[in-house]
């Protein structure tokens, strides 16, 4: 079998579902054989093996780079021998992190959590592949084909004319065409090196506004390393909710991280996949999908979502930076004024971190908090309900970052956060490039501990 075509067709053997055997040879000709807990696909010509312990295998491949792997197809039991040649060891970077996350899943799956620790990703060139004769099982029933799902999704995304429509369409496509029930989209905040949830599906609460730092959990590592991270077994240390909780308990980030918004996410996902969304060399977002089912996301699913995100990133970038025509429903008539006899909604704002509380209950902080406070101030003092995004971009009170302001994304998260809270205060579209504050009660604005208006 040609190694070039071969490795791509044998990726299910490289998932770490079953351990492979590895034979190496000492310079004096003495063979050595061991089990490899992780054999990973790198590209059509290369595989990586986990380097965990200093042992004879290590000694041998450093002296004689030729080795043979005996691996099995996890569905059919077909065996393959791969003749491989050791090239190098990577101890950091995307491949290392992908492998480390995968190994965490394998360790947990095989009861070896705490024993397996990745020292390096040993990269080998595949020289030859031999199908070993022997009995095998019929291939499993094929999963739903992914190319039609991808095509339908790309078609749907290409028709979107606003960021919100794009985000909602993506969620719908993942659900409808890919059958993915649990998903979230997190926007990147490069300045603060963290991601914030802008949309999610499949959870009790959207979690809009909840944050995760770069480097934490599957999502954070995908953002930091700019590479997809996929785990097909439960791996507690990479689960979003646990990773973030540990960060908070660690104390270092406790005061800076958004901790007031309930986190969505399955408590113990059995499969996780995080895909970075780029526009050029800029990280725009991370798409995260998870499942209670083991091995829910295979290499092909990863490929499909990477391809989808490759289209999503530039779309996001274009829709955020240009004042494109809003494809929302036509502007609804102005809301009736709030019921003046209702008790006012107390909105308290702390300028030092932009945090906003509604009737003493925490809502949001940061840029989104400053945006809401500014809109409410103008509403209170000038009687305004509608605002254009163009004027908001120029308003220094909003504290928008200068280079990449993500204003649209922040407005989406703010409106979803308000919807999650079922507040008497909403943000809705008001036609092209405009938003509207909708209040069902009068508001009372309190800056810090003092009543402002």
């Amino acid at each position: 079998m040609s190694p070039l075509r071969g490795v791509d067709t044998l990726r299910s053997c490289l998932e770490g579902i079953l351990p492979a055997g590895l034979a190496t040879c000492a310079p004096d000709g003495t063979p050595n054989v061991t089990y490899v807990s992780q054999l990973m696909y790198v590209d059509p010509e290369h595989v990586a093996l986990s380097f965990q312990f200093f042992n004879k295998t290590r000694e041998n491949i450093l002296a004689n780079p030729h080795a043979t792997v005996l691996m099995m197809d996890p569905d059919t039991a077909t065996r393959y021998r791969l003749s491989i040649r050791y090239l190098r060891t990577e101890t950091a970077g995307p491949l290392f992190e992908r492998m480390k996350a995968t190994l965490a899943g394998i360790a947990s799956h095989t009861g070896m959590a705490g024993v397996f620790r990745l020292r390096g990703a040993d990269v080998y060139r595949v020289l030859a592949i031999e199908a070993v004769p022997g009995r095998s099982l019929p291939p499993p029933e094929a999963r739903a084909p992914l190319l039609p799902a991808l095509r339908r999704s790309v078609d749907a995304l290409s028709g979107c004319r606003s960021l919100e429509h794009l985000i909602d369409t993506l969620a719908l496509c993942l659900e409808r065409h890919f059958g993915i029930a649990h998903q979230m989209l997190l926007m990147a905040d490069a300045l603060r090196q963290r991601l914030y949830i802008v949309a999610s599906r499949g959870y009790a609460s959207s979690g809009a506004g909840a944050e995760i730092p770069y480097g934490v959990g599957v999502i954070g590592v995908a953002a930091r390393e700019r590479t997809p991270i996929r785990i097909i077994f439960p791996a507690a240390e990479y689960a979003y909710s646990r990773a973030i909780r540990e960060q908070l308990e660690g104390g270092a980030l406790a005061d800076r991280l958004e901790a007031g918004i309930p986190l969505p996410g399955l408590p113990d996902p059995s499969s996780q996949l995080a895909v970075p969304v780029h526009a050029g060399d800029r990280l725009m977002a991370v798409l995260y999908v998870e499942s209670d089912q083991q091995y829910r996301f295979n290499y092909d699913m990863e490929d499909a979502l990477v391809a989808l995100c490759a289209m999503l990133g530039p779309c996001m970038c274009a829709l955020q930076s240009e004042a494109l025509e809003d494809d929302a429903a036509p502007a609804t008539p102005a809301q009736p004024p709030p019921d003046a006899s209702a008790p006012p909604l107390r909105v308290r704002y702390f300028a030092q971190d932009g945090s906003v509380f509604l009737d003493d209950a925490y809502l949001i902080k940061g840029v989104a908090g400053s945006i809401l406070w500014t809109l409410l101030q103008d509403h209170q003092t000038l009687g305004r309900c509608e605002f254009s995004k163009r004027e908001m971009r120029l308003d220094s009170r909003l504290r928008l970052p200068e280079v990449v302001d993500n204003l649209d994304a922040r407005l989406i998260l703010l409106s979803r956060r308000l919807a999650d809270r079922q507040a008497d205060l909403r943000i809705e579209k008001a036609g092209r490039g405009r938003i509207r504050l909708a209040l069902t009660r009068p508001v009372s604005l309190i800056a810090g501990g003092t009543q402002a208006a």
Binding site: T30, A77, R79
Partner: protein, 167 residues
């Protein structure tokens, strides 16, 4: 130097308890290769010797290596516990199976089915993996002279001796 004492009764019991087995040999040119073993029993005719089963069509490159220099490395792993040991020998040779060898295949397969069920591997998969028509069975006879613990962990690769015969 060969040291027959390396194969203590305790170690023989372990490696013949129907574990997951891989047999490796090298081709004399610096390339090692391997095949799955299909059973192991103590050689009643050779003190300290083992008889390892394999399927000839699958084992061809390994058999060529054994024919070249007689050196083999064999790894045995208990799937449920990951307890793993590697034996090495320099006197391996390939023989036709006798009746006792052939009779070993069925109980070996049945036990592996049970053992691998513990780690979630379905029975049909294990039976396909270990399937071998009797006329394709061969036996590798070897007298191990080195033993290494290979249970995953920092001590993997440590040489074991008669005083510490098991990983």
């Amino acid at each position: 130097m060969p040291s027959p004492a390396i194969l203590t009764p305790e170690l023989v019991r372990f490696v013949t308890s129907h574990l997951s087995i891989h047999i490796a040999a090298s081709d004399g040119g610096g390339q090692a290769t391997l095949v799955r073993g299909l059973g192991c029993r103590a050689d009643p005719a050779v003190a300290g010797g083992l008889r390892l089963l394999a399927a000839r069509p699958q084992a061809e490159p390994v058999l060529r290596g054994i024919a070249a220099d007689g050196r083999v490395a064999v790894v045995f792993s208990e799937p449920e516990t990951h307890r793993t040991v590697q034996l090495k020998a320099r006197d391996a040779r390939v023989l036709a199976p006798d009746d006792d060898d052939t009779a070993l295949l069925a109980p070996y397969t049945d036990t592996l089915v049970t053992r691998l069920a513990c780690v979630g591997t379905p029975e049909p998969f294990v039976r396909a993996l270990l399937a071998c028509p009797p006329d394709e069975l061969i036996v590798v006879c070897a007298t191990p002279d080195e033993v290494f613990g290979q249970t995953p962990g920092p001590l993997a690769g440590e040489r074991l001796d008669a005083a510490h015969p098991l990983p």
